[in-house]
Symmetry: C2
Subunit: 189 residues, 2 copies
């Protein structure tokens, strides 16, 4: 294997080709390290969002069943939501968790920040873990989706990922990262 | 918790607002189950892609360091790539793995298919595991990025996710799903 010096790309121009309150698309003119010019490299700007892996004291995971348009069907989901303008990601996580599930927790940990698409962007996922969660109030998400809160064992959630019942990439990452941290706590931060 | 009947949304109209060979954006008119109409629900169509978690016989993971525009910096990545028109995802995985790393394997397993964004779509990630991989040829990806192949222990890869050195959501999902399947082989398919 040859050791190479990896150089960054240089953005020469940015042209916005689509704008809306939720989705912006830009086309970049890029110069690669070898001097080659790419005229049409896309960037997709979506809001950052949080994903919450929360367990009650007996280890069961707090989930939501809901219709998701991106899947064209029902899915088993972790509590999640977009970060609002000026909002701290942990505050978003705590707000969405309460709004969507009616649960609260005093033990929050940040697991990782992950870019949705490393070519095009598509927003950053902020993954949180909440432990010893307890029921606090009726959920009241205000979201478009109807939701049904459900508690399942970690083993059952892993099965749901493999079967496609939990079809979200960010949810799968959050579940398996969280369970991996629990299995290997010395590697957690 | 109240049991609800969760109904699907109904798409009343689709208006394409941006088209390119790589990214399509549509605006949907949706009727929610309660009769409420949403006029501007976005869908983002990106190609499906594969992500490969591959280990050599001693357990080290085969990775690539490269500049990624969506991150605006260098990142530690799993071999990955877009599924071409008419291509079977496993064939894409085997092709991209060889092109990007120069390695091959005779033991391939499909772990999960995961939707990148369950609201907007953004393409489906097909996660594969390859075991007992062996070096076969010099890599020759033809991709825009310069790449440097590197082998690291699973523990070191998990650290890279937590530190942000591996910043890709699909990569983090693939690594932790794969390691979880290895830790809990009875739950693997």
């Amino acid at each position: 294997m040859t050791e190479k010096i990896l150089e960054p790309w240089k953005t020469l121009a940015v042209r916005k080709v689509y704008t809306s309150p939720w989705v912006d698309v830009s086309v970049l003119k890029i110069r690669l390290p070898d001097g080659h010019i790419v005229d049409d490299y896309h960037q997709i700007d979506l809001p950052g969002f949080v994903v919450v892996f929360a367990q009650v004291s007996n280890g069961q995971v707090i989930l939501i069943r809901q219709y998701k348009q991106g899947i064209h069907g029902l899915s088993l989901c972790l509590p999640a939501g977009a970060i609002e303008e000026g909002e701290d990601p942990l505050s978003t996580a705590q707000r969405e968790f309460l709004e969507e599930t009616g649960y609260v927790s005093d033990e929050w940990h940040r697991l990782a920040n992950l870019v949705t698409n490393t070519n095009y962007g598509c927003g950053t996922a902020h993954v949180f873990v909440a432990k010893n969660a307890r029921w606090y109030a009726e959920p009241n998400s205000g979201d478009l989706e109807e939701m049904q809160v459900t508690l399942l064992s970690p083993t059952r959630v892993l099965e749901a990922i493999r079967s496609g019942e939990m079809a979200s990439l960010s949810n799968a990452a959050a579940v398996t990262l969280a369970l991996n941290s629990i299995i290997n706590p010395s590697q957690s931060t």
